[in-house]
Structures are given as C-alpha cells and as structure tokens.
Amino acid sequence: MVVRERLAGEKLAVELCGIALETPLIPASGTLSKEALGEVGSVYGAILPKTTTPRARAGNPPPRIAETPAGMVNSIGLQNPGVEKFLEGLDAFDLGVPIFVSVAGDTVDEFVALCGRLAGDPRIAAVELNLSCPNVEHGGLTFCAGPASAREVIEACRDALSSKPLFAKLTNEGVVANAIAAEEAGADALTVINTIPALTIDASAQTILVRGGLSGPAIKPVALRAVYDVSRAVNIPVIASGGVSTGTDVAEFMLAGATAVQVGTASFVREPEEILSEFSEYLDRMGTTASELTGAL
C-alpha cells in the first residue's frame, strides 16, 4: 500500500465508465497470475485476470512462446480452469481495487451464458469481451472478429450483463470499423488492441516455432495508431493495450485518447511500479494530471 499512499490523489486518478480508478494502469488479460499479484502492490487501478471460458481449456501444446526483437510471440490457447473454478478463486484477485473479468466463448450463446453468469456477481466491476484472441482457431481469428459478428455478440452480452459496464477488446485488423460497430451495439468502452498475428520459424530445425500473436514494445506504434484512430471515431472511452513498457508510453497512449492503459508483456521484464513512478514523474514535470491528459493531443 506504500505506493498508493505515496502516489495517490487527484494526479493519477481516472474515471472509466463511472468506475473510479486510483491509477490509469490495468494489467492486460493473461499477463498477471495469482502468484505474481504480491509483486504488483497497488500499482494498478483495477485488476484484470486471464480470459475465462465456459469450460476448462488445456491450452496449446508447447512450445507456446518465442522471443522476438522487443517482444514475443505467444500461442497459449486460452489455458484456463473454466468459469466456475475461476469464480471460486476470484477472491485471490481482491487487492482492494475494482476487478474486471475477461471472457471468451466459441459462439454467441457461450458469450451470453458467461455474461449471464457474471452479471449478478458483486465482486465484478466490469466485463471485457475478448473478441480478438488469435490463438483460438476458427479458420484464423475467432468467429467474432468482423463487425457483423462483433455487433451480434456485443448486443446480446449488453442485455445479459444488465447494468455492468461492458468493454469490447478489439484486434488491430479492421479496428476502426469494429470500434464503430461495437459502440453502436452498446459497448461501454473499447480495449484496443490485442496481440498481432505473427509467426516465428526455427531455421536450423526447419520447423515452425510459434504461430500466434506478437506483443511487447515491438507493437507499440501500431497500438498507438489504433488508439488514436479509434478515439476519434467513437464517443466511448478507449483502454489502450499494446507494447506499454515505460511511463512515457502511458502518457503517449493517454495523449492519443486512452482513458486507461493496460500493461502486459512488459510486466515480465519490469516492475509495473517503475512504470507508474515514471508516469507520475512525467505528470509532475508537465504540471498536469492523468485525466487531463486523455485526448489532449
């Protein structure tokens, strides 16, 4: 709690869909385990665990990750214990800040059933629909990667969630069209972007190493462009995801239009606390606050 006491207050606080966040940082889904929660203290304004699905998923066989310059390619395959086990263990994610839950289904009905299951749980402040994981195969992207199916899923989930805020997480491909469709369908905020489809090859073994999604600083300029373009196309908050590794990155995403910023892959190589401190120093240097920064550019 030391960090929060030191850095707290007006300066870092933001509001996202009526939810007060003490800092604009959120862990990106799938990049913060229960075991690592102890390390993050109170750096995050909200907690967002790995995507959960209706039934347990074993995930893909290894190798699942390959390092690339300034990033990595992963093909985890949404390994998770299924929504019921997930909810049994959810209290472990209670750090005294709002909890957002990421869900994914293979069909519209599965998305709706998941949202119905979460709608009445008072521990959950908002739900993020993972409409964009490139590692679950349905001929490439998930079935809901295009505007028409994204619209159908979001409309149905909006009803199922009753009053809980719904975030739609969008992939980079076709992001502006999907963002407009998602807003029309009733999304309360958009998370932009997920990993970018990528491939690594082991030349000496002449085999494919990992076919999955690229993340890390390598994708930051792509994500920044997506956040900037989407922020100008919709009137709902945008949550940035993609390549954030420094406090300056956080500032850049907020200037581009983000209300909150997710930290994913960088948390494997840095302490998120350092990123928050750098961001806080940036705000001091510029004589501004986090909420003033959003879309200031």
Partner: protein, 244 residues
C-alpha cells in the same frame, strides 16, 4: 517481475561452461532457478526476455550460475561487464525424501548445474549419494572435476565411458531416490531406468517468458491431463506426474 542489479564477484570458464558468481545473501533451495539478463535502460529490447538458469552454487554471501553459451542472451551474459540483473530464487526445487540413501544424481550436459547445491544439501543431511554426468565431449566434461567421485560418460568417448549418462550409471533401481536434470529426452530415459516405483525427481527445461507464473508459456504436460507451469509447479517434478 522484479530484477535486482548484482555485482559479479568473479567469472570462470570451466571447460565449455561459464560460471558467474555474484553477491546474494538470500536463501536458495536446491533446484530453484533465477531469471537473468544484462542490464539495459530501462530494459534491453533485444534480447527482450530474461533467461532462466538453475542456481549452481551458493554460500550464503554469493550465488553462482553455470551456463553454456547457446544464443544471444547467454552470449551477452558471458560478456557482461561487472553487473547483471537477476530475479530472486524462483520455482519449486528438489524435494529431499526422508530415506538415508544411497541417492543418485544424474546430469546431462548443462543439466549438471543444479546438482552442486543438491549435493551440498545431501552432504549436510548425511545422505550418501553418487553423481553421474554425461557430456558431449571431454571439453564439457571438465566441469566434472567440481564433483569429486562423479562417474562420467561422453558421447564421443573422449572422457569417461563412451555413451550417455545412463551408460555411466549402474542399476538405478538400487537407489532410494533419483534426481536428474538435462534435456527432456534424457529425463524420460532416466524415468524409465529408475522404474515405476522409484522416488524420482526431474528438473525440466522449457522456454520461459516471465518466470513468475503469469504467461503460461513454460508448461509441461502432466499425467492427469492438461499442462502445468514449470516456473511455479516446477521446474522440478515428480517423474510420475509428467506425461512423458
């Protein structure tokens, strides 16, 4: 993940391997590992991820890593000036069972790394143990000098017996416990040689992203179905729990 900048106290080249010793006064369990990398500002972008290494030795004031230069990350560590960055000890190490021994320790190539701390722990508990080490050739086998009494095999026969580590080891079934580290095919062979009922523990080697359980990248298949993370549930597993 938190990394600590540490000062390299000394560096030695033992045969084909590099040993780096740095200041570390925390506790270390045999079989635990650290994520290590060269320092950058604020991190290096290429290589981007830290690399996992078993603890080779520690004396309460310093800890050491023993590694083979394979690619970019290890080459940079080999050349690192006087500081590197390391995580705290990670993972679940070897479980020492209560039996009095004798116990067998098997290392394949750089799989020798965690056996030194384990051997020290067994000495402290007065558990008699035999060490068997397999290498590609005599150059790598030079590290066996750090394990007095170890029996050695080399693939090309240039040191010890010719063959794999199992050719240096007699009947493994006569040991009350078998501990092994090396490439996964070697571990599978040790598991078979130790027999169904053996108390056999294997330290596996998987690619790691985070080292703290967050990425689900380092998994191994388990007998009960599905995958578990080698950085949290491992890297040391009961042989019988693994699906290979």
């Amino acid at each position: 993940m938190k990394f600590h900048g540490v000062k390299i106290e000394d560096r030695e080249w033992i045969g084909g391997y590099t040993l780096i010793r740095y200041r570390w006064d925390g506790a270390i369990e045999p079989g635990q590992f650290a994520m290590a990398r060269v320092a950058g500002y604020p991190v290096t972008f290429d290589p981007f991820l830290a690399r996992p290494f078993s603890f080779y030795d520690h004396d309460g004031e310093t800890a050491s890593l023993l590694f083979e230069v394979r690619g970019r990350g290890t080459a940079l560590l080999d050349d690192a000036p006087d500081r590197i960055e390391v995580s705290s000890p990670l993972g679940r190490g070897f479980r020492i069972n209560g039996a009095n021994g004798p116990v067998a320790l098997l290392g394949g190539g750089i799989g020798v790394a965690p056996l030194k701390v384990l051997s020290r722990r067994l000495d402290a508990l007065s558990v008699p143990h035999d060490v068997f080490l397999g290498f590609a050739d005599a150059r790598y086998a030079a590290v066996a000098g750090e394990f007095p009494g170890a029996k050695v095999a080399t693939v090309d026969g240039s040191a010890g017996v010719q063959g794999t580590v199992l050719d240096a080891a007699p009947d493994l079934t006569r040991y009350t416990a078998v501990y092994a580290c090396g490439p996964n095919p070697m571990l599978a062979a040790v598991k078979r040689a130790a027999g169904e009922d053996a108390f056999c523990q294997l330290s596996v080697e998987e690619r790691m992203g985070c080292g703290n359980g967050s990425c689900n990248g380092c998994v191994v298949p388990v007998r009960d179905g599905g995958y578990v993370r080698s950085c949290i549930e491992g890297p040391v597993f009961d042989a019988e729990a693994l699906a290979w």
